[in-house]
Symmetry: D2
Subunit: 344 residues, 4 copies
């Protein structure tokens, strides 16, 4: 009963099969192969962005840090949510890749950036000329690290603020498929105001493949140089491309995200029915709920695997502790129900 992460689950069998099919004969290396071109075209089509530059990397941190480095200067302030993966879970990768930009946490509801807070944060920069950092991009995570999603109106509000100050928008879409599966928006609508997108695949059924989409293709060559000097350009590039190609074929990516979301919904509803309180609404494939510490201990003792989100505090077994339960595409109803039984 492993609900620790969508990184803990397997890749989808079709992706493994695609690797096998790709493993024939000799092709150009470093992306000069037909699979790479094809997969990039598919992603452009999915996003309704025929001119966008599409490049593949193997990890989400690489995607985010390289994308931000294309949008920020070393002397920039980058605006992000306090819990943004780029801020708390990438060991200063954005600072490394940008050459020293500063991440500015911006408050908002349910793990999201609020548009008004963003405007205040932007206005607080560039008030001292050369002395402070300069306004750089804003990055938002869709779906968020708290398992919530930005609505269309929230995206519009943030995009409007960003546009007002000439601030570019990066979207960390490590779970973009989950956000799409939870919404009525077409992909093109969801990324409408985005300058650079980290398009995730690894958390949703791939072995390790992400895309960076640069809607301004003039950034493409810079990205390629940054990727190469960071060691993120794969020589046998077809194996990245094959994953992404399988992902985007016949809607596999959306099917897997829908499955994961459905499992999380089932889990979330079950917990609420049992009287537990959610920390944030369950809008994608992650459930955050509060339970007494002893409940978590008991569940883990029976084999449940998941992360606690705030372990600090005195050693009172009744203290409420938030936990994160993540459903990947492979979670069955049975597995969800078995976990729920542990909390009953």
């Amino acid at each position: 009963m492993n609900f620790a992460s969508d990184n803990a689950g397997p890749a989808h069998p079709k992706v493994i099969e695609a690797l096998g099919r790709a493993n024939e004969g000799h092709v150009g290396s470093y992306g000069a192969d037909p699979l790479t071109q094809g997969a990039a075209d598919k992603l452009r089509e999915v996003l309704g962005a025929p001119e966008a530059a599409v490049h593949f990397v193997a990890t989400g941190t690489a995607a985010n840090a390289l994308a931000l480095a294309c949008l920020a200067e070393p002397w920039s302030a980058i605006f992000c949510a306090p819990a943004a993966h780029v801020h708390v879970d990438e060991c200063n990768a954005p600072e490394f890749y940008t050459g020293g930009a500063k991440l500015i946490p911006v408050q908002g509801p349910d793990g999201k950036i609020g548009a008004a807070s963003l405007e205040a944060a932007i206005l607080a920069e560039e008030t001292r000329g050369v002395h402070g950092p300069q306004r750089g991009p804003v990055t938002l995570t869709q779906a968020t690290e708290s398992g919530t999603t930005y609505s269309q109106s929230e995206l519009e509000a943030i995009g409007t603020v960003a546009g007002r100050y000439g601030v570019k928008l990066h979207m960390d879409g490590a779970r973009l498929a989950n956000a799409l599966a939870a919404s009525n928006l077409a992909p093109a609508q969801m990324v409408e105001r985005v300058a650079a997108l980290s398009f995730g695949g690894t958390k949703n059924g791939l072995l390790g493949a992400e895309a960076v989409v640069l809607f301004d293709p003039e950034l493409s060559w810079q990205f390629e140089l940054r990727r190469k000097r960071a060691g993120h350009l794969f020589s046998k590039h077809r194996y990245l491309a094959a994953q992404m190609d399988a992902y985007l074929t016949d809607g596999l990516w959306m099917e897997l995200a829908s499955r994961a979301n459905a499992a999380a919904t089932r889990l979330s509803e079950g917990l609420v029915a049992q009287g537990y309180e959610l920390a944030w609404p369950t809008e994608a494939n992650m459930v955050f709920f509060r339970a007494p510490a002893r409940v978590h201990e008991a569940a883990m003792a029976q084999g449940a695997v998941y992360h606690l989100w705030d372990e600090a505090g005195e050693e009172n077994p009744d203290r409420p502790v938030t936990a994160r339960l993540v459903c990947d595409w492979s979670k069955s109803d049975g597995e969800v129900d078995a976990l729920l039984a542990l909390f009953a």
Copy 2:
């Protein structure tokens, strides 16, 4: 007839199979899985280094740049061969990862660093106190980018010089298996004086997996932090580990290298028999030979794919041009002979 690169060929089917086997159920992410531990243990055993820290990354450039960053300071001089991959083919990755170290080319025979030249280069640094860069590590490529290998006595001479000045040794072993297959040395002998090893797999039958071996395990945690902030820590780490595990099982890695070397030897001998001159001795899996420009043009027109090494010069079809022919593990005698026929 693609002899462009060992990156152009397929992965070995056993490696694809290993990915399929690894794709079962949920495991710890970021390396906290049994396959990772097992593959690291196998590599420690192969190298006779039970205490060494072993970490996996997906590309050779990442392996080299991260390893060098653990051995060098931002104000270091790093000594390398003029044709070293880290110097000419990694788009300043070592400079990026070290925070600004300087690479100093050191001459030597057949694409190698010479021990006497290395000593002179080391002596030329730290002559001006704080003003110049400080002596940092030496990095050598085994087998070299010129298809040659360092002999045991050459390694000893370089190791002796390095040791005399407290200079640490990095080995770029992107083709270490090819070098081993060409020598009588055990792996432990070949890396005897090495502080950090980039242990290649991608060029020799994997999809994309390399190991960094730190013989001083105290560097391990620093490496892990550097890898994470560079975005090179795989979340679904088992898929890196599965490749490396298959590679090190039943001697697959040496078998594949031996096949590649044998193909290169056959090719090299065939070219010499036809009267062509080699640029450097064929000691691993790459052949560098000179032929009139028109010969290359004719071969390529008939479908041969490979790289020319010095295309400059006036447009004389009789001018000699060096070419590189690379044999990966999958090259059959028939394919070699077919290529030879084009040059006959």
Copy 3:
């Protein structure tokens, strides 16, 4: 009536004279001159730190960024006050010099870091292994950017927390003399728990000279290399040393700080007597007070020069606006009273 900054005022005439005296004949460059040795010795004596390494630079940002780079790793979190100069007024210099460390704002009273908040901030890091930044140094400004000072007990509380977690302490002492002049502490007491000190001079009567004091002399050589590669090693070093030497001779540094503090006290008391409210207590040489926007406009129209601290808000002439008034060593009672008259 310029109260804009302690950077706006003149150097003390004794310092100019010292430059003239230093300007005789040929001496060793890059610090190999007797004046440099002498000035460093004087500072060691003043601080009661006979073993400390002392190095000179020309700017406070250089002092801070170089000192922090010696205490932090690129993957560190550096703990600072939200208004810390290093965070808001150095254009990402700490991020640049450390190679990408992250500054974490820590709340506290009156522009200071609070010990309890510091402990919470430290505890919030290193909760996720390799994924988040690692605990780095804490930096505090004494006197603060808000014109307040850390008391001995506050310094002890912070030092105790830092010590508990092995976190090193940097003190930005751009106005250390002002803090000392406001306290009963000896210099050695004030820096008792400090690992690296930026010892200011420029704001207190020098043209441009600061010292970095490393209480662990093992950091000295690293500092020298960092300073050189940053272009902060002066070739004609005697002119930095001459300033610092004059500063530390016959207590000039403390005399100038006392004068500046006295002027600020006079100004602060005058404003309070006129009914104005202080934003923070006046404990060093800066006064922060609130007045209606129209009062500031009127004062400036009559020639007062100073900075407003929060200019945002609707265009209501009665809205309260905080202003900063800085007294440097040269402010006379008459000048203070003339300014006060504008606010009467």
Copy 4:
């Protein structure tokens, strides 16, 4: 008899006087003062560059590294002479400031870059797409570190090559005045093809002041941000400006350089008359000559202070050793003759 460096001598008394005159009252900090504006205007006029951006820093390394960072990308190759100060004497400052660019030594006569070698070096880059560094700026030192100067035709040849490939030109003019004093060229002619100039003052009579001239003023703001985050923006900026202002007033800068050159010429001719051999022609204010080791030992024993350039080799007192003798503006004929007497 100190001929060790032009950094070892005093500032000109007029410069000290200018500091005293500048030390009156309160002025804007960080360059917002009339002296700064005036000095920049004077330099623009001297260079015949009314549109150029002019910024001041305190050290030559800062000037060079900041200027190069404005012309290069982190993935650039920067072309320089093998003995360039930026390459061998700045402790990797260019690598630090550019974020990892690579310096490529280019051969040439007498410490200079040769135009043909430069073209070959440029052509050798960008042959491998994204894998190698990209062509960045060329930097030349005028006068060179070998005491020679580029002639107008040499500058034109280099400028033509650079222009052919879109490569920008940086000039390290730490001794630009000496080069001008040795030539018939007007300043505007000498910098005709230069994109960014490090205009030296420290080696020629100032305490510590250099200018960076950006002939494309669009680089100005980027420069200002880079300077600030590097800690090279002086708060009491008038003291940098006062030096530069005095330097450029009534031709002081050219007068001092002429004096230094004349002293070097007298010294060089004296040595040649005594039968010594020059390592390179004496064209500015430095003399490089060869003498048996025992001659240097004897001279130094009698109080001569200067640097040997190649101390390596066996301990034979008759072996020829090159020495560098530097004349700053303050060298009198008597001092030169006294030194010559030691070599007689």
